[in-house]
């Protein structure tokens, strides 16, 4: 027995070492498939037009910072970015005003119609985006809401509302009821109980929601493209796709790549800082079967 064991162990170990190497290889290939396109993009943003047209595997000869200057001046990336920042802030504000009180009431108070409203919002999870873009466009046209960053933000906030209420309601339920009772005894009204006691306690849930919605709002494309017509109000994704179409005729590829890097950089930064929050949030609110 003992002899067999000593013979077997190293063999098994060697086998698992080979297996580990194979797994690593598989994972490294995939890592390259994710990382290389992004690196390639960064390299291209420092190339001259002639270099970009030449061999795509070559390193840039010099650093063409002028591409970045062009991205800001002729391609107006900076302006689009400001618009995106404005729209994200507005959408977030509207979303929080609409979702937090609703989730509080639906998650913690007893009243008639509670389950009706909860199911009502749940149904909203299944009615998404592009199906309703035509009637939404017609509605906004007749109410003079088109080409308006505030109303675009309101539509964004509405789109995230069902998921946000779903996420926050389950969070609200986990807070013990004693806190409210104590607050009530101390003479707090409904509103101050909500704002002073519950909202601070639900902060982790609210932060998760903000992180999630940030990416949604920052990256949204279809509605921004449809509902905003003047160039000065366009958001980053729309600006970039316009830029791509323009560059096919202007062939200033360098500034398009620089534009992409400018858009990627904050996303990577936010991701690195909030990576944990993001994946935690997915486990919290995402799929529970």
């Amino acid at each position: 027995m003992a002899a067999e064991n000593t013979v077997n162990r190293p063999a098994k170990k060697a086998g698992s070492a080979v297996g580990k190497t194979l797994l690593r290889l598989l994972l490294l290939v995939q890592t390259a498939a994710v990382v290389y396109p992004l690196l390639w993009n960064v390299m291209a943003s420092f190339k001259t037009n002639a270099e970009i047209m030449d061999n795509p595997w070559k390193f840039p000869k010099g650093m063409e910072w002028i591409n970045y200057v062009h991205a800001f001046t002729t391609a107006r990336i900076g302006e689009y970015m400001l618009n995106s920042v404005l729209v994200v802030i507005l959408s977030m504000a509207i979303l929080l005003v609409a979702a937090v009180p609703s989730a509080y009431v639906l998650g913690r108070m007893r009243f008639r119609g509670r389950s009706f409203f909860t199911n009502f919002y749940m149904a909203g999870l299944f009615v998404g985006g592009v199906y309703v873009i035509v009637p939404l466009f017609i509605l906004m046209n007749s109410l003079h809401m088109l080409d308006n960053r505030f109303w675009l933000s309101a539509v964004y906030a509405t789109g995230s509302l069902p998921f946000s209420i779903f996420l926050l309601t389950s969070f609200m339920k986990s807070i013990p009821h004693d806190y409210e009772e104590a607050a009530m005894i101390d003479g707090c009204g409904y509103f101050s109980t909500m704002f002073r006691i519950i909202v601070p306690m639900a902060r982790p849930g609210i932060i998760t929601l903000i992180v999630f919605s940030f990416f949604d709002f920052w990256n949204e494309y279809v509605m921004a493209m449809t509902f905003i017509s003047s160039d000065a109000k366009k958001t980053i994704p729309v600006g970039l796709s316009n830029l791509m179409q323009i560059q096919q005729y202007a062939t200033d590829w360098g500034s398009l790549f620089a534009g992409l890097v400018i858009v990627l950089a904050p996303t990577i930064l936010v991701y690195v800082l909030l990576q944990k929050k993001l994946t935690e949030g997915m486990m919290l609110g995402g799929v529970k079967g």
Binding site: L23, A33, L38, P101, V127, M194
Partner: protein, 292 residues
């Protein structure tokens, strides 16, 4: 006291309900109603034509082609995405590699990128002269494999499918990793003692224990293809060459905003809506397990 509570509840629910009714419920009701009208342009009066839009749909070759393309993507992309996600998730949770958090961070990254950025990036990867894909194939002597990926009717859809998989695999991987962490380690230890290989453990423990989560992700992923393919296609190919990468959403969009065919576009919307509901039900049924 009672009325103060009711006022509080109403005030809390009001902002959300206002937005929801205006921007979600009303437009949804509209697509069902207005899909029965001939409506061509904002200034026109819609004219009731019953089910005409729906019957037109099935004689519209471009629509049928877009439906076929969408169907193919909805089949291929979820299967490949979820399979890759599952395999990666179980490797990263079960093989205890030291650097596993790096892989997790890297693989998840594409799913937070803007679809537009992804679409632009990939249209350059596939670019016949500027892209590194063809240049790479030539460099390793596979010149004959180099293709104008997005300009070739036979491969364009597959090229788009790869982009969609690249985008989503990491997202589902993270979901599955959370699920696998929730499976009792004793099950794996017991299997290990019985001499089950890692592949056997994957098939007989991981997949069955995750099945409820997998079911949900199948539906998520099918729906994801429907909406994400819109952005990917409209930026990368605009449906070309000759509608060979047209998907139902891009077709709906161009019917509405290029041809001002609002009634017809809404009929397509209703059709897709119903189809995706039916698909969700079917995949739910098919993946349901016997008695539980």
């Amino acid at each position: 006291m009672k009325t103060r509570k009711s006022i509080f509840i109403a005030t809390c629910l009001l902002p959300g309900l206002f937005l929801f009714l205006l921007f979600k419920v009303y437009p949804t009701l509209q697509i069902f109603q207005k899909s029965l009208y001939l409506w061509t342009g904002l200034s026109d009066k819609p004219k009731f034509i019953g089910l005409q839009n729906y019957t037109d749909m099935f004689q519209d070759d471009t629509f049928l082609l877009s439906l076929r393309n969408t169907g193919l993507l909805m089949l291929v992309v979820p299967v490949a995405t979820l399979l890759i996600a599952l395999v990666n998730a179980s490797i990263l949770t079960k093989s205890k590699l030291k650097e596993r958090n790096i892989y997790r961070t890297v693989f998840f990254f594409p799913s937070i990128l803007s679809f537009v950025v992804i679409a632009i990036l990939w249209s350059f990867i596939y670019h016949p002269t500027m892209g590194f894909l063809n240049a790479g194939l030539e460099a390793i002597g596979l010149d004959q494999w180099a293709l104008p990926w997005l300009g070739d009717q036979r491969v364009v859809l597959w090229a788009l499918a790869v982009t969609l998989i690249w985008q989503a695999a990491g997202y589902y991987m993270v979901i599955y990793m959370a699920g696998i962490d929730g499976i009792s380690p004793e099950l794996y230890e017991a299997a290990e003692l019985d001499g089950a290989t890692r592949i056997k453990q994957f098939i007989h423990i991981t997949i069955p224990m995750l099945w409820e989560i997998i079911r949900v992700t199948i539906i998520f992923s099918i729906n994801g293809v429907l909406s994400i393919s819109f952005v990917i296609v409209s930026v990368m190919t605009a449906g070309g060459p000759d509608h060979h990468s047209e998907v139902v959403m891009t077709y709906l969009y161009s019917q509405a905003f290029t041809n001002s065919n609002f009634g017809y576009a809404m009929a397509i919307g209703v059709f897709i809506f119903v189809i995706s509901m039916v698909l969700a039900l079917i995949s739910n049924r098919l993946t349901e397990r016997g008695t539980d």
